[in-house]
């Protein structure tokens, strides 16, 4: 029983990591149809932000807290820069965004290598987050994983509030559902696009901060996780926040449960098979967007 519970928590925590890295993507890819291959590098920006801040601020806990907003803004501005310089010209050609942002991601990786060196680096985790919490004698929950879970849920909550309640959210949804109609209705779609990109990329920065608690920080850390993030968004249903949330946790739990009884590689294969089978059944993903556009 303890094993099942602790694996369940492991699955949820894997899901929380998946959710954090997929959240920003569900905005830029899901809502805007931009295949941003540089999303992983924006996550890397967030992670290196913690690293740089720790050189200035010695307290690991304070630097982590400061890093959250700073990484959000830095990654967000970087995203806006990519949007303004490149993606803006390609909204009519979604597949070309893949090629262009792939190039951007290679440039950013090399830039990171030049600035921080090829070897991966480490940050110090706050003492509070290196330990674990004993729920029962046997059931131990890692504090850093718990922190990531809370962070992911907070980010989802904040994002859904913005999308549902705020005027900006209404504009984003209007542009997503029918860009032309929104435009002739007097919405500055260009400005909305930029803000959407800012938020989506900023969330990647937050994910990067969280990932420093799990593993190493390096120039190629983005490429390793970007595929999983796309999977979550596609299976969740493009443009669907709740789909992203449900699928992230579901995949995490399936992965951890299968992994416990088999091996890491077998579990990855089974997760992929589940995804393929699911997309045969529902190619549009778990949830679909009802849109007034003709496409």
């Amino acid at each position: 029983m303890t094993v099942v519970l602790s694996q369940l928590f492991t699955g949820i925590s894997i899901g929380a990591v998946l959710l954090l890295i997929a959240l920003g993507l569900s905005l830029t890819f899901g809502q805007m149809n931009v295949i941003n291959m540089a999303h992983g590098e924006l996550i890397m920006f967030g992670a290196y932000t913690v690293y740089v801040l720790q050189k200035v601020i010695s307290g690991a806990g304070i630097s982590l807290l400061v890093a959250l907003p700073v990484a959000f803004v830095i990654a967000g501005l970087m995203g806006v820069l990519i949007e303004v310089l490149l993606i803006r010209r390609l909204y009519a050609r979604p597949l070309d965004t893949l090629l262009v942002t792939w190039g951007v991601s290679l440039i950013l990786q090399q830039a990171a290598r030049d600035v921080f060196g090829a070897p991966n680096v480490q940050t110090r985790a706050p003492e509070l987050l290196t330990g674990s919490i004993h729920l029962t004698d046997d059931l131990v929950v890692s504090s850093s994983r718990l922190f990531i879970l809370v962070l992911a849920l907070t980010a989802v909550g904040a994002l859904s509030v913005v999308l549902k309640v705020s005027p900006l959210g209404r504009r984003i949804r209007a542009v997503v559902q029918n860009r032309d109609l929104a435009s002739v209705s007097g919405l500055a779609t260009g400005r909305v696009d930029r803000l959407t990109f800012f938020i989506g990329s900023g969330l990647a920065g937050i994910a990067g901060v969280a990932l420093t608690l799990v593993g190493p920080i390096g120039p190629t850390m983005g490429t390793n996780i970007i595929v999983n993030a796309f999977l979550v968004v596609v299976v969740g249903g493009i443009g669907q926040l709740k789909g992203t949330v449900i699928v992230a946790f579901a995949l995490g739990v399936v992965q951890s449960m299968v992994e416990y009884t088999t091996t890491v590689s077998v579990a990855s294969v089974i997760v992929f098979l589940v995804i393929v089978a699911f997309l045969q059944w529902r190619p549009q993903g778990l949830f679909t967007l009802r849109t007034r556009s003709l496409a």
């Binding site: 991966n120 890692s142 190493p216 390793n224 890491v264 590689s265």
Partner: protein, 403 residues
């Protein structure tokens, strides 16, 4: 003295430039210097480890040059980047042999890169010095192995655990040739020595998700973990290990590919108290090591640690020098013959090492170390004397049928 050096240089020129073997490996000894190749990954995922080896090779070459060179010739290193890509390693080794006419090549790290270049060196009858511990079960007439083979690292590691009363093991490794072969050997050892292997898990190279594996390790209740994870995966593994409440006191982890450089980047807060099995640590006592550490830090920075593969690389250059001097020639076949005749030794930082003629491996002292809070590793046990290399584990009855 200078005049004498010039004289011997001239002598070497006339005797050597004509003695190159017909089969391809021509060594250019016509000038006042002789070229050697340094083949390491200076970019890509292995750069973190291999750049330190390259630096260490350069240190040895500089020292030898400052002391008058080899057979009166200065050593001129030609450095090539293997780029963590095995076909590139093969390509670059061919280039070093046929274009630069090097006398020997020093380098390679992963078993995959070594397997890729092996046929190139054998075809050209040229020499490779390989400085990293590996999984054994290999021997090539054109490779000198200066890192440990399994009976000089893994087997002593297991002996140590057994002596500590650890009766059950959990094996965690990266999913490629070295950990899988090593674990086969560990399982055979365990069966023969009354130890139990309670589980075995592999993570893809570069994987950073270890929560399930750590849960399995914890649930198994094993008395120790044998870790053959490579590179960055160790960072995620040890973070998870600590988070799960597992400690070095209750369930120690013995690692065979974490050295000082990696300890620094993983973080001592996760590693303090854990064990490693190697042949050399920065803290290994002795005048030769003090000199090596001092020279390395003076050249590359006071915060740069020295590690086992670096030491094996440094030593390999001196061993080559000793062989060449004994042979009185740079000719590959003569150098090999000098090594085969025996008696090639060197007072290495790890202690006295001797080349074993028949296997072209070297006698090495095994050392178990404990990682300290300062990031350095201190020895808790050593084999007392250098262990004879046994790449095919012929001397161990339980290993019959492994190769």
């Amino acid at each position: 003295m200078a005049a004498f050096a010039t004289l011997t240089a001239c002598g070497a020129k006339t005797s050597d430039s004509t003695s190159s073997s017909a089969a391809g490996a021509t060594i250019d000894t016509s000038g006042s210097s002789v070229k050697v190749g340094l083949l390491n990954s200076l970019s890509g995922t292995m750069a973190i480890s291999e750049v330190t080896v390259r630096d260490s090779l350069k240190l040895a070459i500089d020292e030898i040059n400052a002391a008058g060179g080899v057979l009166g010739k200065q050593i001129e290193p030609v450095s090539e980047d293997g780029a963590s890509d095995w076909p590139t390693f093969a390509e670059k080794s061919q280039k070093l042999i046929s274009q630069d006419h090097v006398a020997a090549v020093f380098g390679c790290w992963t078993s995959a890169s070594r397997k890729a270049v092996k046929p190139v060196f054998e075809k050209n009858k040229s020499l490779l010095f390989y400085p990293v511990q590996y999984e054994g079960l290999e021997q090539s007439p054109y490779i000198f192995y200066t890192g440990a083979t399994t009976n000089q690292q893994i087997v002593p590691g297991l002996d140590y655990l057994k002596a500590q009363g650890k009766t059950s093991l959990y094996l965690v490794g990266s999913d490629y040739v070295f950990p899988r072969t090593a674990n086969k050997i560990i399982k055979a050892y365990a069966t023969a020595n009354g130890m139990k292997v309670l589980g075995e898990d592999y993570a893809p190279l570069g994987s950073t998700e270890f929560s399930t594996i750590v849960n399995k390790v914890k649930a198994s209740g094993a008395s120790a973990v044998f870790n053959t994870l490579n590179g960055d995966s160790n960072v995620a593994f040890f973070k998870e290990y600590k988070s799960a409440g597992l400690t070095a006191a209750a369930m120690p982890v013995v690692s065979v590919s974490i050295a000082e450089e990696e300890v620094k980047s993983i973080g001592t807060q996760y590693l303090a108290g854990q064990l490693t099995a190697w042949n050399y640590y920065q803290t290994t006592p002795g005048a030769a090591n003090e000199k090596f550490v001092k020279a390395y830090k003076a050249k590359y920075g006071a915060d740069k640690p020295t590690s086992d593969p670096m030491e094996a690389a440094y030593t390999s250059v001196y061993l080559w020098k000793a062989m060449v001097e004994k042979a009185g020639s740079f000719d590959v076949e003569k150098v090999k013959a000098a090594a085969a005749a025996g008696g090639i030794t060197y007072d290495a930082p790890e202690g006295k090492v001797t080349v074993d003629g028949p296997t072209q491996h070297i006698f090495k002292t095994a050392r178990i170390g404990k990682i300290g809070t300062d990031g350095l590793i201190t020895e808790v046990w050593n084999s007392g004397e250098p262990i004879k290399p046994d790449p095919y584990l012929k001397g161990y009855p339980w290993a019959a049928g492994l190769s």
